[in-house]
Every structure is written in C-alpha cells, then in structure tokens.
C-alpha cells in the first residue's frame, strides 16, 4: 500500500468515529448584524460559535443563521474588516432557535480580523506573528492597481518589490532581505489554498525584463492578500516557504440577488524620465586629421578640440523612440446565490501598449527603402490579457461546504530587444554621438550608435500563454469540535514564446539578416493536495485547545521544447523553413510531501500558545538525506484583556507576541546528483554524439533551513484611531546552500556545486503606524507610515572537506565574502587631483587604492512608505497619496559608466567643463585592467518617490439611481510613479536591470513608466 493510501485510511479511521458520535441536544441561533447606533446592516461578517467549528457569514441584509449549536451557554463572535470584534453570550435550548443580534462599531484600522494560515483561518489577534493583509477589493477603489504587483508595492513593511519597466513585465519580490546565497529568494504563492506559479518567464533574452506570471491574476478578482514574511509564520508551509508566503484569496459569492459590477479603465502609459544627453567634441589629431576628442586625448595633447555638440535623441521629435502607450480594460462580474449555492463569476479583458515605437526619421528611411512598416514594430512592447473566473461555494449540508475555484486566462506579451544586448535599443540609444546627423552609409543615425530602432524593433519576441487554475477546497465538520479540510488544486500554464527576425530584417549583426526564428513551448503543471483535520475543545471556561494535523503534497513539473533555425528563405516564418535547424528539450520535476501537526492553546481568551512541526521530504534532497523537520512555536498575549490593565478606555489592543520557526528552501531539482550530459561535434563530415561528465552533485544535499525568530508589539488606541505595530526579527539561514565554485582544474562541466555550507543572517525592524486624527461623517484624514530596516550578513561560506575555508566568491564587482552582506559591491577606491591644474582629470591623475574594498549594499536597507488619505465632501470624495522612500544601498550605474568608458559620449568623458569628481570617476574607469575601478559608478541610490495619487468620487445615490437598477458608481482618477527625488545620477535608481534577479542595476534600460488611469465602476 502506498504511503498516500495509508494516510487516507488513517485519516478516515480517525475521523469516522468522531463523525458517528451521537449528536444530541442541539439548537439554533439566528440574528442580524448592524452598525452600532444605526440599523445599517453589515454583510460578510464572520459569525461563529467560540470553541467550535460552527460558523457562517452574514447575508447582505446582515442576517445570519447557525444550526446544530450545542445547548447551553455559548459565545457568538462577530468579526469583519473595518469593525471592532464583538462577542456575545447566547443561551441555546434544545430544538429551539435563539435570536442574537449584534452591533459592530466602525474602527479606523482596516486590517482583516481573520487571517489565513496553513492550518486554516484564525483570528489575527491569536496568531503570534505579524501577518500583513491587503484589502485588494478596497484598494482597487482608491489606487491605480492594475496588477498584483501594484497591490503589493509599498504596502507591506519588509516586502521589497521592484517591477520591470515594460508593460506586462514581471517583478522581483524580496521579503525581509535576501536569505539565500545561491537559491531563489522569491516567495511562494498560495491562491485559494493551492500553489500558484507567480514567477517570471523568459525563454529568449531581450536584455529587458521578463514577463511575469503573477500578472495572470486579475486584481479585481482578489479579495485580499496576506503576507507571511518568514519561517516564524510560514513554517507550516515547509520546504520552499523560507523566503515568505503570499496568500491570495479570491472573491466568493455573496448570498442574495445577483449584484452586477461593470468597470472600465482607460489610461495612458508615459515615459516621463529625463534621459542623458550625448556629447561629442569635434577636433583634430596632431597630424591634422579630423577626429572626435575627449578629455583624455585633450589632456594628453593628442587631440585639439574644436567645438562641442550635444544631442538628446530621447527628447528630439525626430529621433525619440518614445510614445505614449494606452491602457484599457473592461470587466464584468456578478455575485449572488443562495445559502446552498453562491457564486462569483467574472470576465475581464485588458490591453496595454508600451511606450516604445519607431522614430520619425526611421519611418522615413523605411519608406525610402520601400519597407512596409509592420504594426508590431510600431508597438514593440504590448500586453494583453483576458480572464474568466467562476468561483462557486456549495453548502452541501450545514457541515459540509465545497468551494470550487476556476480561472482561465490567456495573455500575450511582446517585448523588443529593449536593453543592453548587442542589438538592443539601450545599447544604441544610450551610446550615440552628440549629433543627430552622424551617418551610417547615406542614412542618418539620428543620434543612435550603430543600429537604429527601425531595425531593432524588427526582431520580435512574443509570448502567448494559456493558463488554468482550479481549486476544490472542501470542508467537513462532522461534529461541533472537529473540522476536516482538503485542497486539491491544479495550476497549468502553457506558453509559446517566439523570437524572430525575418530575412533581410533586423540589425546587421552576425547572420541576423539571413533570418532566424526560435520558438519555445513550455508547460508547467503544479499540483497541490492537502488534507487536514482540526479539533477544537474547551477546558472549563479558560482554556481552548485547537489541534490540527495534516498532509500536503506539491508537485511541480515543467517541460519545454525549443526549436530554432537560422537562414530563413524570403517570406519564411517557421522553424521548419530555415536551413540550419536545431532543437533542445528540458524537464524539471520537483515533488514535496509533508505532514504537519499544530497545537494551539488559548487561555482566558488572551494568551495564545502555538506549537507545530512539519516533516518534509523532497525529490531534490540528496539520497543520503531523509526527512527534514520544521518546528515552530509562538505566543500571543493580549494584555488589554487583563483586569489589571490600565487605560482600558484608551487602549483597544495591547498585544505582545513572539514566535520562532524554521522553514526550508529546496535545492535545484538535480543539484544533488552526479551526472553526465550529452554533447556533439562534427567529425568525418557528420555530427557525432558524445558524453561529458557534467556535475559533481552532493548526495548529502539537504534543504537550506532558515530559522527565524520575531517579537513584536501591537497597540491600538482611541477606538482604533491610532494603531502601532512594531516587529523585530532575526532570520538565520543555516546550512545555506552555497553554489560553491568548483575549481576549473577538476574539469567538471557545471562550474559550481550546490552544497550546504554557509550561513546568512537577516535581522531588522518593521513598523506600521496608522492614525486617523479626523474621522467625521463629513470629513476624514488618515495617515499610514510603513517602514522597515534590514541588516544582511553572510556569516560563513563554510569549509571544504579538508577543513579549509571556502574562499570568497569573487565576481567583477559583486563578492560573497564572509562578514559582509550578500551581493555586496566591491571595487578599488581611488583618489584624484588635478595635479597640473589644467581643469582636466587625466588617467594619470587618478590614484587607485592598492586593495579592493567593500562599497555597500546592493539592495535597499531602509524602506519607508507614507500614505495620506483625505475623505472630503461627506466622504463622497477620497484622495490618497503614497510616498515611497528607499535608502541605504547603491545602484551600479552601468549606463553612465559605459557612456564614459566605451561609448565616449558622456559629459564627464567629453566635456572639459564637467565637474572634476565626475571626470575622475570616468578617468578611473579608463585605468588599465588590473587597476581599473568603477567605484565612482556605484552610487547612493536613495530616493523618494510620489508613488501613487488617486481621487475617488462615489457618485451620490440620487444621481446614480437616475438610471434603472443602478446601485452605485465610483469614478477614480489616479496616477502612478509621478515624481521622484534622488541624488542618483542615472536615469532612475529604480530601473530594473539585471533581469529582475537578486541584484538590480541600471544598464542601458528604460526605467519605470508613469501611468494615468481613469476607472469607472458601475454596480447594479
């Protein structure tokens, strides 16, 4: 019998006796939940009987019904976001229904009172961790939210997000710093209880950002997002959860008549960045030959300058590759149903065009050469998505619910070579001469370096994705004290990415103009199976026990088949039409199976103690390694419930909490295995297959275990008009998997070996303050400040088999050195002086340090966001602004370094009047190799950004109801990325270079865009 079958048998054997337990002496409770001091009903209130599994949600009219309630005195608790918790004792009599109405008071704090954990939903105040919640349904009404990333950015302390610059591109999310040296640091995503592929996808490099699978979700379908920051909270999610868990819950049907909602967004995408000018100094060599001069050749006397010209192709109407993009979306959803069947069904379509296009001067060239312009060249960055969701909630019986989630989406992403690749836009737009009129052949380059956008955008990279997510999450409560839950989920993604240059198109590099096409067909399957049982029971009137046990299985299969060809015939489009075919295939399989038990104890309704352990096995662990255990423990103490607690009138909550836990990160799927790979070469006129030893492997490889402790304080005062939360965390990654460099002399194909050697620490503070100083019915003002500070340290790189320390992992400018942060920047510092007083800093006037030294962090240490909200005109109008600050880190301004070093078109390289410090950093970059230093280009990147501003008008009812059946209308005008303040000398410190990997740089790529969106929402 397989282990899985054994497990099912055990579960059934354990549950059935309980289910058969005689149920006698039952009654019911009904009631209505309203706002305090009025008769306004409140829907969607979670009402449950304390200490049991009995619970329900209120209907739109505020009413609720609870059945099978044990006779006697029970406590009914009501919870809803935006309202204070309310409990009430109710006497239930056998065979009778007792009425219990509840009145809830509005509170300023907007945190959901219920949070989702791996072992089920729990009251936030019982959970010993800080779990952040984002009420997406509400956020969309008052902020420019067009993607999940938009909903996350700057909303949660400790969550750092950087997005790609092109429309439809993905994002990089880091929670509480970078925990792993060598593995991915992305969080995992759980959508409606099952694993979801939220990563980025790109088969063919464009030099820019990849597409993001997180974009597949429609933000309008999301009810809320919860963020579990680290192992102290996520231990029960086990392997893969060490870098945090993002739990997304989509909307459920609301009982009642169908409530329709139609919305549309119309907007503009703009590139409002200020790009650098190109400089050219015209002059002559000493022999009289006309030549471009620069500061070095002028200083050495090799070149005599004549005149300086500048040109900014980004802002010149003839040359600019920029246009305004357009965003539009249309969505319709309906929610309704009965107690037995409720539904939420939605459909949405969106399309966004990017800001790149073929410049005017190129249109002229193409026309002169009789080249018909393709619409894809004019819109080289384009994104579209259509989604269809059907969420059903079936209540088979009072004790058995069956939520079913279905989501189908199709997306399309086109992105050009927009970055620093040899034929990428950035390589040429940032590198041209300081003049419009420099020629290539008989055509102007328009200020570009070698290749121009008319050719660059002829290379198209298009990814079309079809995706289905389905989840069934049954819940069965056979008794009042036992609940069993299950989750079966399937996330399937099928993508076809095609990278193509037709014959006689694209930049004349290599054999590109002979034509080529590459196509990658990728499939990913994620399966989730989860089963658990929770037992609740009370001891006297002071202790509540909650015991949970469960089993989880997650499998991720990916496969891809790539076909390539070059040398297409005229008109040829497909792989089969080229004359030089090639193909490749790849498969990855990752399986995780785990079991977990969790015990909660609540004392006097104020002290919660939780302990849990999860055991995991994973297909990527080495064969010599068995099951890993992830323990967790935590305490939450609500002091305000104590009789002795002073200031009860002023303090609504005073909670201290602390927790400790472990979670893991699995190694690469084949990292543990020694293996050979195939290669081929040409011999005797034919291709010959051979075998090469590829990888050492490590049979003892185990997961990277991250241990985290956190402690914090939650304080709510003045009817929750002031809330304050502070958390201190300390996260240590022991047995950190280090991609240990294998010395080349061992002759292995794979250049690194994954092995458990290192230790990484992240520690820091997180805090949130929310105040609502003005909270009148006609006027309101609220302020939320959200901040975090992180310190990262590579404690140890470990030792080799002989006990010798593993040497630092040295890259060109990034080093992994024990005692310093991961991915820190290292360069040789330098000093300079204008020794000869000629106003020019020559290379010889630079004095580089003897040693290479640490310069700084490559990731922000400090993040601070401030949201201001104003409710005006009897709260019919709400204005919100979000300011975002990041600091304590450096960004590699490679764009400017390249403009100095190799493009010779930056002011500091060309213009003798450039400031000396700028000349110096440029001169230092021109020192001969071993002495060369780019230290001046690793710049402090601290910035303050006006991230969002939005104005929402809730149209008055008397206007809305002019139209029949109309229920409500809101209109929101919003803008994103509107202004920034920084001393960074590049275009934007938030530019997402580096392919959204662990290290961000600015390297000839366009920065984030500005968007303006008008959203109109009709409810009927």
């Amino acid at each position: 019998m397989s282990n899985l079958r054994k497990f099912v048998v055990v579960i059934l054997a354990a549950i059935v006796p309980f289910a058969l337990h005689a149920q006698s002496g039952r009654g019911g409770i009904t009631g209505r939940v309203t706002e305090t001091g009025s008769t306004t009903p409140i829907g969607d209130v979670q009402v449950n009987v304390v200490g049991t599994s009995i619970g329900t949600m209120t209907r739109a009219d505020g009413t609720y019904s609870l059945r099978n309630v044990p006779v006697g005195t029970v406590e009914v608790r009501a919870l809803r976001i935006g309202y204070g918790e309310r409990k009430r004792a109710v006497i239930v009599k056998a065979g009778q229904t007792t009425t219990a109405d509840l009145a809830l008071s509005k509170v300023a704090v907007q945190l959901a009172p219920i949070v989702t954990t791996a072992t089920g939903a729990q009251r936030r105040s019982e959970v010993p961790n800080q779990i952040s919640s984002i009420d997406v349904a509400k956020l969309i009404e008052e902020a420019p939210i067009t993607s999940v990333a938009d909903a996350l950015v700057s909303k949660v302390a400790g969550v750092s997000l950087i997005g790609g610059s092109s429309v439809g591109s993905g994002s990089r999310i880091r929670i509480r710093g970078q925990a792993s040296l060598s593995l991915g640091n992305d969080p995992i995503y759980i959508v409606d209880g099952v694993r979801f592929n939220g990563g980025n996808q790109q088969a063919f490099g464009t030099g820019g950002a990849p597409s993001g699978r997180l974009n597949d979700l429609n933000p309008d379908d999301i009810e809320n997002i919860e963020v579990l920051r680290g192992p102290a909270a996520s231990a029960t999610y086990g392997t893969d959860a060490a870098t945090g868990v993002i739990v997304i819950t989509t909307k459920r049907g609301k009982v009642g008549t169908p409530r329709w909602n139609f919305y549309t967004e119309q907007g503009s995408m703009q590139d409002r960045n200020v790009y650098p000018k190109a400089y050219t100094m015209w002059g002559r060599l000493t022999n009289g030959t006309a030549s471009d001069c620069n500061i070095q050749s002028i200083a050495s006397g090799a070149c005599r300058p004549d005149s300086l010209t500048t040109f900014n192709l980004w802002s010149d109407p003839r040359s600019t590759p920029l246009k305004d993009g357009y965003r539009n979306s249309y969505g319709l959803n309906v929610s309704g149903g009965t107690e037995s069947v409720s539904y939420y069904v939605s459909a949405e379509g969106e399309g966004t065009s990017g800001t790149l296009t073929v410049p005017q001067f190129e249109l002229g060239r193409l026309s002169r050469n009789s080249v018909a312009t393709d619409s894809r060249w004019l819109n080289p960055n384009d994104y579209a998505r259509q989604g269809l969701r059907a969420n059903l909630d079936l209540k088979i019986s009072p004790t058995f619910t069956l939520p079913i989630r279905n989501y189908f989406t199709r997306s399309f992403f086109r992105n050009p070579q927009d970055g620093n690749n040899t034929t990428g836009l950035g390589s040429h737009a940032f590198g041209g001469a300081g003049t419009y009129s420099r020629l290539t052949g008989t055509d102007t380059l328009g200020g570009y370096r070698l290749f121009t956008p008319g050719d660059i955008f002829q290379q198209t990279n298009e990814l079309e994705t079809y995706r289905y997510n389905g989840a069934v999450t049954p819940s069965y409560a056979p008794t009042t004290w036992l609940t069993t839950r299950g989750a079966l989920g399937f996330d399937f993604t099928s993508g076809t990415e095609t990278n193509r240059c037709l014959r006689d198109q694209c930049p004349n590099f290599g054999q590109n103009r002979l034509g080529f096409v590459s196509t990658s067909r990728t499939r990913q399957f994620q399966y989730t199976a989860d089963a658990s049982a929770t037992a609740n029971f009370s001891f006297r009137d002071f202790a509540e026990f909650r015991s949970t046990a469960g089993f989880q299985f997650v499998q991720v299969n990916s496969d891809n088949v790539n076909g390539t060809t070059s040398q297409l015939p005229p008109g040829g489009l497909t792989v089969s039409q080229g004359s030089v075919p090639g193909s490749s295939e790849g498969t990855t399989i990752a399986k995780t199976a785990g079991y977990y038990v969790e015990q909660n104890l609540q004392l006097w309704d104020r002290l919660d103690i939780v302990g849990s352990v999860r055991g995991d096995q994973n297909s990527a662990f080495g064969q010599n390694f068995g099951t890993v255990l992830y323990p967790r423990a935590g305490v939450s103490y609500r002091l305000q419930e104590e009789k002795w607690f002073p200031f009860k009138q002023q303090v609504n909550q005073f909670r201290v909490r602390g927790s400790w836990g472990q979670a893991g990160l699995r190694p690469g799927t084949t990292a543990a295995l020694p293996f050979f790979a195939a290669n081929s070469y040409r011999a005797n006129g034919a291709e010959v297959p051979g075998l090469i030893f590829q990888q050492l492997g490590d049979l003892n490889l185990k997961p990277e275990t991250v241990t985290e402790g956190e402690a914090g304080l939650d304080l709510n005062m003045f009817n929750d008009r002031l809330t304050f939360t502070v958390t201190r965390y300390n996260k240590v990654s022991k047995d950190a998997i280090v991609s240990r460099v294998v010395a080349p002399s061992f002759g292995t194909g794979t250049t690194t070996q994954s092995t458990n050697l290192g230790a990484v620490t992240n520690k820091g503070w997180e805090g949130i303050v929310t105040v609502r100083p003005i909270d009148k019915s006609y006027l309101g003002f609220d302020l939320t400040v959200n901040g975090s500070y992180n310190t990262n340290n590579l404690d140890d790189l470990g030792r080799d088999a002989a006990g010798n320390p593993i040497p630092p992992i040295i890259g060109a400018s990034i080093r992994q050195t024990a005692g310093y942060p991961l991915n820190g920047y290292w360069q040789r510092k330098y000093s300079y002086s204008d020794a000869n007083g000629d106003g020019l800093i020559a290379v010889g006037e630079i004095v580089p340090d003897t040693n290479i030294s640490f310069l700084g962090y490559s990731a922000p240490r400090t993040e601070l966001s401030t949201q201001l909200g104003f409710d005006l005109f009897n709260r019919k109008v709400r204005v919100t602004t979000l300011f975002d600050y990041r600091g304590g880190y450096l960004v590699d301004n490679t764009t400017e370094r390249f403009r100095c070093q190799t493009r010779v078109n930056s002011r500091e390289r060309v213009d003798p009047t450039a400031p000396l410090d700028r000349q110096a950093r440029c001169a230092a970059a021109q020192l001969p190799g071993a002495l060369q230093t780019f230290a001046g280009y690793f710049e402090t990147a601290d910035f303050l950004r006006l991230r969002e501003i939005a104005v929402t008008w809730r149209v008055p009812e008397n206007l809305v109801k002019v139209l029949p059946r109309m229920r409500n209308t809101t209109i929101t005008a919003s803008g994103r990325n509107l202004a920034s303040w920084t001393k960074f000398t590049g275009v934007d410190p938030e530019t997402a270079g580096g392919g959204l990997g662990n290290v961000q740089d600015e390297f000839q790529i366009t920065p984030p865009l500005t968007s303006f969106v008008l959203r109109i929402n009709f409810g009927f």
Binding site: N3, P581, Y681, R682, V741, F746, G747
Partner: protein
C-alpha cells in the same frame, strides 16, 4: 460549555476528546514519516553514470572528450583566440571589459572569459583521463590502443597549452570516482615534462602495431606535439628529430558546421565582430591586416573601394559598419578569409607545424641555411590545409638570408606568425622570444599607446594569471583571499 453539565461529565468528555485527538495526530504523524516513495522523481535530462558502464559508454566518453577538444577551435573563446588577443594577432572589436583588459595585457583573475577558456583546457584534460579509464574498463573490440593514445594526445596537448599561456605554477587536478582530487601548483617546466610523459605513454601503445590509418594519424599528432613541447623546453635537437618524421601533408583537423559549432575565428571576427585582426599591434609589426596583404592571412573589406572587396562579395561579407570598440588602426570592416564560412576546418596539428619547429630547431642548432630551405619549400608549395576548402596560398616569393642572428630570429618568428595565425601558437612564441632569445618585453609585446583609446593603456602581463575560480582548489595558495598565487609571472 453547558451550564447544566457537571464538572465530572465535562472532564470526562474533554479527556475523551483530547485522547482521541492525540491519537489522531499520532496516527497521522506516523503515517507520514515515510515519504520517500511519494517524492521520487526521475529527470530525463541527465545521464546517470550507472547507465553508461559499457563498451558504448566508454566510446561515448571518448567522443565527448573530442567534442570538448573541438570546442577549442569553435564557438567560445579558447586560449587560441584569447592568447592572440593579449598578443599581437587580435585587438578587441567590442567594448566588453574582459576583452579590453586582455588586449591591454592587464588581466584580472576574475576575468570571466579567461576563466571560461581555462575551464576549457581542463575539461578536455580531465575528460581524456576519464575516457582512458573507461576504455580500459570497457575496451573497444578493435582499435582500443589508438583510442587510448588519442586521449593521451588530448591530455598532453592541453597541458602544453596551459604551460604556454598561464603563469608558472598550474594545477593538474583530477576526479577520482567523481570526487575532487586536487593538485598543487606545478612549475611550468614540470608541466612540459608531464606532457612529454603522456605523449610517450600514448606512443608506446601504438608502437607495437601502427598499422591502421588511425594509428598513423594519432602517432603523427603525438609527434608534432612532442616537437612543439620540445621547442618549449629548449630541446631543439629532440624537436628537430621528432618533427622530421612527420610529413608536411599530415593534418589533424577540427571540423565545424553551423549546426554544431562554427570556427572560432570566423565566429568572433566575421560574424560577431568582437575581434579585430591586428595591424602592426606591437613592436614586431605583424601586419596581419595590412594593406600589403600576406596571402597566408587573407582579408577583405566590403564596399566600393574596399580592400579585396570582390573576395568579400564572394564570401557574402557586406557589412561595412565599424567595430564597437572603434579601433581606427585597422580598417574597420576588415574580414578574414582564412575561415570564410561557418563550416571551415581548422588544421590544429599538422605537418607544416612540424616543418616550422624544424626551422627553429635548425637555426638554433646553427643550420640557418637548412632552416631557410625548409621555409622556402613551404612558401613554394604551401600545404593545402592552410586555407581550408581547397584554396591555395599563392604569391609567396622565396626568402633570402637576412644574415644577422637577430634578423634570422625575427624572420623565423614572422614566418611562423603568418603560417600559424589564429591557431594558438603566437602567445607561446612571444613568451619564448623573451625566455629563450633574451628579448625584452617591449621588444616583443604590444606596449605604450593602446591602439583603441590612443592613450597609454598597455600593461606588463606576459602570462595569463590563474583565474580566481581556481582558489577553490585547496592546494593552491592565495595571494589575497580568493585570488590564487602564481609561483611567478615571468615569461
């Protein structure tokens, strides 16, 4: 809790529930303990060593090693290109820092391209050892000896390349049962001795038979290599003796194609435009891309008025755009015609090399007349493999004796430089001019004003440093943490 419930009833029920719940948790926990079967996964992308313990598996490892050997003249940047970049064969055609610092003779141990090329050497060397082990364990029904000998050749060739290019003190680590077996630094002289011993081992396998074409092919490869190493060792007598037994027509060719791997020089000069053929870079004034064309390194420049433009048209080279790096010392759009298509062979080891080793040996042994005769024979009847594809070098006139010893030396190295352009010989020769002929660094290596920036840019490297990655070999001392120390970096 019901108010009517007595304490004893409550305690009883609670205890009962607690006991059952605990039992449930225990059962679940125990049932979940053995999860290995559930998570078992087999990845089809990898080849398990256990599956290739066979005769065909051994042959596969040999072919894989030759595939890696082939990679040295293809695709990526092997020492054949990289040595030429630091020497006077190429200048950088693009703006990558790694190539710039190499061209400037100022290498950092972190240089990623250097590391890749260094790995390429050891991939072949260790692969050859693995292949020999496999062939001994699972001998081929016929021809096992020449296969073993060929692997000795591959290993020795790479040890020689390592010794010729890198600083004094290089490791020869191995893998035993797929586990690292580190090697300490080995002095350059010792590397040559080891390489010679490998060659002798290979030759000994062939000597009893030497009957098949493969026996002869491998035997000649071993002899040419032995002569080359003997030259490096300064053993000119041995070099002359060994080289004389190889016919000029012999060639051990690396084959290429667009579907697998293209010739490295074609790829980097003609296709990707990352390397420029040098023109008088350095004091030896090797005009590889000179307007006065040497037919052994044919080049062309497309477009009206371009040098040898018709040949460019024939070869399909039409791009006249400049190289990224902006080297104005070379006509910007110059293409090399030696490897004019993506499928030309490279005669990596050949009889002409044997002749040239003979030439140098004869001169060093006091017989310049004999050396001159050999050189003029080559000029009069150039081997066909110099220009692959059935093309022949023409137009070379006989050389005359320049009389002085220095001029004779320069003439020999010049001839060798043109005949062996782009095949990985030049770097070792530049070092030997210093080491064996007493020339100064500035008489040999490019120095002073770098052609591209027109400001002083060349540094003083005459060897490649051991790449930083080798610091992970625990027997290699480190000069600073993470940076391997050479014994010395002398020529």
């Amino acid at each position: 809790m019901t108010t009517s419930m007595t304490s004893s009833t409550f305690l009883s029920r609670t205890a009962s529930r607690a006991a059952r719940a605990c039992g449930l948790l225990t059962l679940i926990t125990l049932s979940g303990c053995k999860l290995d079967g559930i998570v078992k996964a087999t990845d089809p992308d990898i080849i398990d060593p256990a599956f290739i313990q066979s005769v065909s598996g051994a042959e596969g490892i040999r072919l894989g090693t030759l595939g890696r050997f082939n990679a040295n003249t293809t695709g990526g940047e092997s020492m054949l290109l990289y040595g030429g970049l630091m020497g006077d064969e190429f200048t950088t055609g693009d703006t990558f820092t790694q190539r710039i610092e190499t061209d400037q003779r100022s290498l950092t141990p972190e240089n990623a391209n250097l590391t890749t090329a260094y790995r390429g050497i050891h991939l072949v060397r260790v692969g050859a050892i693995q292949a020999r082990d496999a062939l001994r364990k699972f001998p081929q029904p016929t021809g096992n000896e020449w296969r073993l000998a060929e692997m000795y050749f591959a290993e020795a060739y790479m040890i020689d390349i390592l010794a010729e290019h890198f600083c004094n003190g290089q490791p020869l680590s191995t893998l035993e049962n797929f586990q690292e077996t580190p090697s300490p630094r080995i002095p350059t002289d010792s590397l040559y001795l080891i390489a010679q011993a490998k060659i002798d081992s290979g030759s000994a396998l062939l000597l009893p038979a030497l009957t098949t074409a493969n026996d002869v092919r491998v035997r000649n490869a071993l002899l040419v290599l032995k002569a080359r190493i003997a030259i490096n060792q300064g053993n000119f007598t041995l070099a002359s003796t060994v080289a004389s037994s190889v016919a000029t027509t012999y060639a051990w060719e690396q084959e290429h194609s667009l579907t697998t791997r293209t010739p490295g020089v074609w790829s980097f000069v003609n296709n990707q435009r990352r390397y420029i053929i040098s023109n008088n870079e350095g004091p030896l004034n090797m005009g590889f891309a000179n307007a006065v064309q040497d037919p052994r390194v044919p080049t062309c420049q497309p477009g009206t008025g371009g040098f040898n433009a018709a040949a460019c048209t024939t070869a399909g080279f039409t791009t006249t755009r400049p190289f990224d790096s902006g080297n104005t010392a070379v006509p910007n759009s110059r293409y090399i015609l030696t490897w004019d298509t993506d499928s030309r062979n490279v005669a990596l080891v050949n009889g002409m090399q044997a002749r040239l080793y003979e030439v140098e040996a004869l001169n060093r042994l006091g017989n310049f007349a004999g050396a001159l005769a050999v050189m003029n024979t080559l000029r009069a009847t150039p081997p066909t493999y110099v220009l692959p594809g059935g093309r022949t070098v023409t137009g070379l006139t006989p050389l005359v004796d320049p009389v002085s010893a220095d001029a004779r030396r320069d003439l020999i190295f010049r001839e060798k430089g043109f005949w062996l352009f782009g095949t990985g010989h030049r770097f070792g020769d530049l070092r030997r001019m210093m080491r064996q002929y007493g020339m100064t660094q500035n008489q040999v290596w490019p120095n002073g004003t770098w052609q591209i920036s027109r400001v002083p840019g060349y540094s003083t490297d005459v060897t490649f440093p051991t790449p930083a990655a080798e610091a992970n070999n625990r027997l290699i001392p480190q000069s600073t943490p993470g940076i391997p120390a050479c014994i010395d970096r002398n020529a």
